[in-house]
Amino acid sequence: MSAVDLGTDLAGLALDPPVMCASGCGGTGRELEATGDLAGLGAFTTRTITLDPRPGAAAPRLVETASGVLWETGGHNPGRAAFRAVALPALARRGVPTVVSGAGSTIGEYAELAGRLAGAPGVRGLEVNLVSRNADAYERRFCDDGFQVTKVLAAVRAELPAGVALWAKLAPGGTLPELARAAAVGGADAVVLVHGFAGITFDPDTWRPSLGGGPGLVGGPAVLSQALRCVWDVHAAVPTLPLIGCGGVRSGRDAVQMLLAGASAVQVGTWLLRDPSGARRIAVELAEELRRHDHTRPGDLVGLGHHDTPEGPR
């Protein structure tokens, strides 16, 4: 049998391994470099950057839940100018393929951000974070409206140099297949599934919300089965659309599940907070699982879980 090869072509972007950090969970790159773990990533996804700096939400910004975390950073980021001046050149120097996550509160802001960042050295892709409120549409989230999703992607696509991948990141929710299709129509090369799941908890002593900002989003192993279902549902509806599975991944077996459900690559978020070497270990375990099942390429597994499945999502 030939050897396992984790190299993956994700709609034109080469990922080896097909395991990345999820947006907002890999710091600036400096922290993972300090632990020696930056080089283990197939790509580095930055935290979500906006045009202007955002100081973010009140602390605590993250609390523990059963097998997960509840978080709200409030979009804390240095803004596109400082990001382009400091963090981005450092990432470029380190040579890890960089995917910049960006968001705006109008379509114009998304486009401007893309124009200012996508051409910078080292940027191999732009991940459009659509979990952001639309100032021009009653503060409704972009990701809840297929029409807006298409418009944002098309506007961003127009700003991208050739060779820079365009990904759309969506929140979990009932009409995901339609939204993913809308992203593809707008020009997305791939769709990242998914952002955090809405949650809240309360402090047992103060009886106030545990997070400084009140409500938040849930990530971690607790949501794996739900994230798998998002990927499953979208792949069932749009089997040709490349997907990136994100949510609760912490092992090679979890990554295999994401592939079976229909993803071509995975992102690791919350688990990096516990184990900064997680992505590297997951890649090793993924290779082992492939070997154990006599497979050589992750691509062989994509969507495999759908075949011969008894019917009946409800």
Binding site: R30, E31, T35, G56, A57, L62, E64, G68, P221, L273
Partner: protein, 281 residues
């Protein structure tokens, strides 16, 4: 940086638990004020964030390899149940595997001159000050200590302080030993008496706030060790941000786990902890 450790022993000290862990590589890089971040519950655990504690002591080698020690408040006597991660740690039999990340964080900054230093410690948080005292004495600094607690049952290190420091003050809220009241009540007199130029403090936030303010009034530098939850201790998650005023008067939200836990007392916006000030960037 993160390594497979294990529990060596769990002992009681006052109302607290001293947990000693075998942890390769931590002792060598330890400096007083730095932290260790532990994962709890082992492979079956539902608790995935780390518990981060100030290191109270290290031993670079020994029968078991390098060890690191933390003093934990399992709150057995408080009405509220102890945090489950802490409960697990103090209940772990020797040999229990624990993933150990450390040392992390900025330690106490040490003065270049042999000035007079006052070390203020509250309950279990006082434990790491003894390693600091040793290093300060090695630099010729005069070391004074002021220890406080709700009651004598929660006072840590008074005997050790008498060995380590030129003078030792003790305050308890219930007056069961030493002066009666809060640490802050005693501080002005002690600052005056010791002519301290630097105050090092570890304790609850209100205590640190008071220490920072009184040190500044007195004209001393203060170095405060912030105890806020640090779920990753790697600088990745931003759970631990505190508002700090930088050189140019600009407030930034800094991560206590990597930019702290020791911060200049005059730079922390104490009244705004748990908030994002409007002028923060």
């Amino acid at each position: 940086m993160s390594a497979a450790g294990r529990v060596l022993s769990v002992k009681r000290v006052a109302a607290f638990h001293v947990v000693t862990l075998v942890a390769p590589g931590v002792a060598e890089r330890f400096r007083p004020g730095s932290l260790v971040a532990l994962s709890v519950g082992g492979a079956v655990s539902a608790h995935l964030t780390r518990r981060t504690f100030p290191i109270s002591a290290v031993r670079p080698t020994g029968a078991h390899g390098g060890t690191v020690e933390v003093v934990l408040d399992a709150g057995a006597d408080a009405g509220a149940a102890a945090e489950p991660g802490v409960r697990w740690l103090v209940g772990s039999p020797p040999g229990t595997p624990v993933d150990v990340l450390g040392p992390v964080g900025r330690p106490y900054a040490l003065p270049k001159e042999p000035v007079s230093c006052l070390l203020v410690g509250e309950e279990a948080a006082a434990a790491p000050l003894f390693a600091l005292a040793e290093r300060l004495r090695a630099r010729g600094c005069g070391v004074h200590m002021l220890l406080g607690a709700r009651s004598d049952t929660h006072l840590v290190g008074v005997l050790e302080a008498r060995r380590a420091a030129r003078s030792v003050g003790v305050v308890t809220r219930d007056g069961s030993v030493g002066a009666s009241g809060e640490l802050a009540d005693e501080l002005p007199a002690v600052l005056a008496r010791t002519a301290a130029e630097v105050v090092y403090a570890a304790g609850r936030i209100p205590t640190l706030h008071a220490v920072a303010a009184l040190a500044e009034e007195h004209g001393a530098w203060s170095q405060t060790a912030l105890d806020v939850p640090m779920p990753c201790a790697l600088g990745l998650c931003q759970a631990c941000v505190v508002p700090v005023v930088g050189e140019e008067g600009v407030t930034r939200m800094v991560r206590a786990c990597v930019e702290g836990p020791v911060l200049r007392g005059d730079r922390v916006r104490w009244a705004d902890l748990g908030r994002v000030p409007k002028d923060a960037r």
